[in-house]
């Protein structure tokens, strides 16, 4: 059992006394060494847990070794009793562990919370080691620990770990029995209480007294035994309490108070307290609780607005104050703090941060946008982008401000967000960036334009067909294909008809031709057939390459007309072209025989 004992620190005595005792106490060097090793192992376990997740093999291995080592030690020594000093642990006044320089290590956190002796007893089980490590980890991990180490250890209620805590109990002045005057009036008591009783005993108890005795018996019986229903009622009460959600209960009573609070200044004071609570909760990175609080505040604001009337301005005033609390929770200072926490702390639950950010008012959008500049980790940045997609739907005017950020990655993130929002209005903000010097930005614009409906997005993609970089031009083709952007057909046709088309790289040519075929389908056949039939004596290899791509594109169209065109072209004398037609016909038949969904392979690939 984890226990607490009063102990006067002065009991340890001055240094000279300790030195004298050291000379007296002999410690087996083997024991000393093994304790040092065990404490080092404990320290390593804790440090590894600060770096790696709990299920990582490294801390698991350390923990296992610690458990085995401690039990081996306790098998032969029965107990391991350590004196805790501010930066050292001692075994029989010999230093067996020291915190690193300027480190708030194991000794420090135990000593800080008043623990002066720590004892491991024989019989220690793995669950106890796990719990002990969990407590120490909490102590090392957070300076803003709400519950001190002693509370955490005490609640674990260990069977084989004990500790002594400094307690100033000895200073308490207590009264003694002797101080209480013995001046009660016995004679009066005797004559009025005992004498009549003596008479009663002499005449034996009368029938009324017997009835009273029977009633007492009945009462006793009723009290002593618990019926199955009573046991069940208690069980229900306990089960209900097991699921006790402290924040919910807390806000339940606050809602009761707030809704009927007649004094606005009192209301304001409690709201101020809630603001401070939110600050503390954010500081300790408890975003799950913070988002719960925000949810309840939003609900409260709504209830107050509903209950307000022209004759009762107090409710409206209270609703407004509630909104201010929500606004404040998403102001620049608090959002900056969140960025700082995300950058500095390990293992933050991003889902709960996301939930919290989601509950904020729109006033937070510029600051959340600003997080994209501050955050170092990809996953955290992704979470912020997701939030902005969800929150920025009606606030594109604010979101677009991020596009002008000097950092390429912020601009790219914001383009992604605009794409995610998917509003046609977003195109006008992307348009000025289509000639952005950074290829990554132009690439992201294409990805976003694919997601934005409407002809404006298609037109912008068409514009990108003229990009100076062939990769962007090819991506634009893919984008157009995916959007089935029929408006792109004239532009594509013009490109395909251009004399210089055959000089483009094979990849680009292929994308362009296939894109034209996929979007135009049967409408594209005449131009494609024309491209195949056309002869050229100049740059024949490049020309034939274009013809082969055009045959492939016909094969992708997967229609009767396309098949007919291929059958006709199959009669060509040019063996290479004939073979290409044959191959595409074969593929076409195979697809039809397999009962495909009618979509071409390329289309499937593109849509994926």
């Amino acid at each position: 059992m984890a226990s607490i004992k009063e102990k006067n620190i002065s009991k340890y005595g001055p240094d000279d006394e300790i030195s004298a005792k050291i000379a007296e106490i002999e410690v087996d060097p083997v024991v000393l060494e093994s304790v040092k090793r065990l404490l080092q192992l404990l320290n390593n376990t804790l440090k590894s847990l600060q770096i790696y997740p709990k299920n990582n093999p490294l801390p698991k291995e350390f923990k296992k070794k610690l458990y085995v080592g401690l039990n081996e030690f306790l098998d032969s020594n029965d107990e391991l009793k350590l004196d805790i000093e501010s930066s050292q642990m001692m075994l029989d006044q010999r230093v067996v562990y020291e915190d690193g320089e300027r480190e708030e290590g194991m000794s420090y956190i135990l000593h800080r919370d008043g623990i002066r002796e720590l004892v491991f007893l024989k019989g220690l089980d793995p669950g106890e080691i796990d719990d002990f490590i969990e407590v120490m980890e909490s102590g090392l991990g957070s300076k803003e620990l709400e519950e001190d180490l002693v509370t955490l250890l005490w609640e674990k209620d260990f069977n084989h770990i004990k500790y002594l805590v400094v307690d100033d109990l000895l200073d308490v002045q207590v009264p003694t029995a002797e101080e209480i005057p013995d001046s009660w009036d016995f004679h009066r008591l005797f004559s009025s209480e005992i004498a009549p009783v003596k008479q009663e005993i002499a005449v034996d108890l009368d029938p009324t007294a017997l009835t009273q005795q029977e009633q007492t018996k009945e009462l006793l019986k009723k009290l002593k035994e618990y019926s199955p229903e009573e046991i069940e009622n208690i069980q229900k009460l306990l089960e209900l309490d097991e699921g006790y959600q402290y924040l919910d209960e807390f806000f339940d009573i606050l809602t009761e108070i707030w809704m009927v609070e007649p004094d606005f200044s009192e209301f304001d004071l409690t709201m101020e307290a809630v603001e401070k609570i939110i600050d503390v909760i954010i500081t300790i990175a408890d975003f799950s609780s913070a988002s719960k609080i925000m949810g309840r505040l939003r609900k409260l604001e709504e209830m107050m607005r509903k209950s307000s009337s022209p004759s009762d301005s107090l409710q409206a005033k209270k609703a407004e104050r509630t909104r201010q609390v929500i606004d404040r929770a998403g102001d620049e200072e608090r959002i900056k703090k969140i960025s700082q926490i995300l950058n500095e702390k390990e293992n933050i639950d991003l889902l709960s941060v996301k939930e919290y950010l989601f509950t904020l008012n729109w006033n937070s959008i510029p600051f959340i946008l600003h997080m994209l500049r501050e955050l170092k980790e990809f996953l955290a940045r992704k979470m912020v982008c997701d939030i902005l997609v969800a929150k920025g739907k009606d606030k594109l005017e604010i979101v677009k401000d991020g596009l002008s950020d000097g950092r390429w990655y912020v601009t790219r993130n914001v383009i992604w967000i605009i794409g995610g929002i998917g509003a046609a209005e977003g195109v006008k903000f992307l348009k000025p960036l289509v000639r952005h010097p950074d290829l990554r930005i132009r690439k992201e614009i294409i990805t976003s334009l694919i997601k934005i409906p409407g002809p404006e997005a298609g037109a912008l993609l068409v514009l990108l067909l003229e990009d100076e970089d062939k990769r962007i031009r090819s991506l634009a083709c893919l984008g157009l294909t995916k959007r089935k952007e029929r408006g792109a057909l004239p532009a594509l046709m013009a490109i395909l008809k251009d004399e210089e088309f055959r000089d483009k790289s094979p990849d680009e040519k292929k994308y362009m031709i296939e894109s034209y075929a996929s979007i135009g389908r049967d409408e594209a056949i005449p131009l494609l057939v024309n491209m195949i039939n056309r002869r050229s004596w100049l740059k024949r290899d490049k020309h034939n390459e274009t013809r082969i791509f055009a045959i492939g594109a016909l094969g992708l169209i997967d229609s009767i007309k396309a098949k007919e065109a291929l059958l006709l072209l199959h009669k060509k004398r040019n063996k290479v072209l004939r073979n290409a037609c044959e191959e595409n016909l074969r593929r076409l038949e195979l697809r039809q025989a397999r009962g495909g969904d009618g979509r071409s392979r390329r289309e499937s690939v593109i849509s994926e």
């Binding site: 059992m1 089980d125 003694t176 009660w184 009663e200 809704m259 609570i277």
Partner: protein
Amino acid sequence: MAAPDGKALFPNEGDHLTLPSPTVTKERSTPGERKITPKPKPYLQEQGKSLINQLSISIRIAQIYDRENSVFLKQMENLFNLVSSLLEKEQVLNINSKQGYLFVNEARLKFSLDGYVASKFIMETFRKFGFESLLIDTPVSQQEIDEFIFILAQANAEGEDPFERLQNKLLSSNLQHIRIEKFASDWEMGDDSSPENQKKQAKRRFFKTISVAQEMVESVKTGRSINTTKSKRAIQFLIDQLIKNETNLMSLTAIKNFDEYTFAHSVNVCILSVSLGARLGLSKGKLSELGFAALFHDIGKVRLPLNILNKPGELNEEEWMEVRKHPVFGVKTLLSKRSIDRFSTRAMVVSFEHHLKPDLSGYPPLSFKKGINMCSRIVTIADVYDSMTSGRVYTKTPMIPDEALRKMLQEEGKAYDPVLLKVFINMLGIYPVGSVVILDTGEVGVVMKANPVELSRPEVAIIADSTGKKEKIDTVDLTKTDEATGKYTRAILKTIDPRQYDLDIARYIY
């Protein structure tokens, strides 16, 4: 005879008895590497509880019936069957009472409402006779079990060295497979774990908690930040003390004439609430939440005008309206702590709800809430009882404890959770600690300790004999019977109000 680990279980005279080591299976996988896998034994928890129940029933039956009686024999058969089935798996049974807990081998038993009385009875029996462990080894016989229970039930725990006398009786009965082991010194108490020292510790703890409560209220009044760690620690110490020895602290709650009763009231409500919670089987974590909430249930009163709080007469309607604000004031005060955790929120909830009734009537009026928190239900009972018996704001004339309980019982279900009230009365007994009683012998006594089994037969300190001589003699157990007649030697005839005779029970409790 040897224990499984090769160590002698019942060694030769002069040797120390060795407790069986906790069960771990040890295998060597590769040289130099040791693998230890704990062997889980969930059955020990369940069967251990049954064992304690059966032991308790057996001892109590053996105190009433003789050895040939069929009721006794049937019960002994039940006990023997249970012991045998456990011994088949365990080889040795070590029933150990330590630091307020009962262990069966390595399993610490968790008792809830239905097993609480039995576990307290067994712990009390162990304590009275001064033994920590009862060891049963295989192959124990039915006869040995019968003999042991009978000796234990008939033994007298009063007088010098009850352990030695019991031990001698057991040895003379030649019990080969049952043995008791004396209490070792209490790790926490050092070498001085005497009842007197424990009482002294409890008293210090009680007054320390009062000073912590006082300090916290002063902080609130002066607008300083509230140090909850101090309060939490104080409550942890109280809980540890209550788990080990409930009586010492419970008896202190009966003293009502403190100078600063407001703080003593908070500590009393805390002790009474935590004791009730412990009977329900709440974990230490939950108990400390409950204790914290109970300690600060009335913190809202710091915002009430002193002339209302200290008004000697009855309050008028306007003053009552002010008083009824204190639950909400309590929430606002605790809210100003500006940090929330499970302790402070529980305290706010309890502060808000402790004057609400199960049907949600009472105050403050509700609009949305659907139920009352378990902790609030507990604190309500403890608060009303302590207020009634001390003559505080709500009842200016203090009631004697049993009268207060009877009055509360009349309103069960309406004003209080009926089952929790029942648990509370079972905890205090029909004559709660601190009650001044007149015995059928004409003696005057102060109830010092409740009897969880026989509620009307607590332990009583005789403060005056039937001839009118004032004295304080040893505490007497009202379950004690006359050896010749078999009748109880003393019984309570009635309770009296000590204040009528200027009798201060603190003199007998300290």
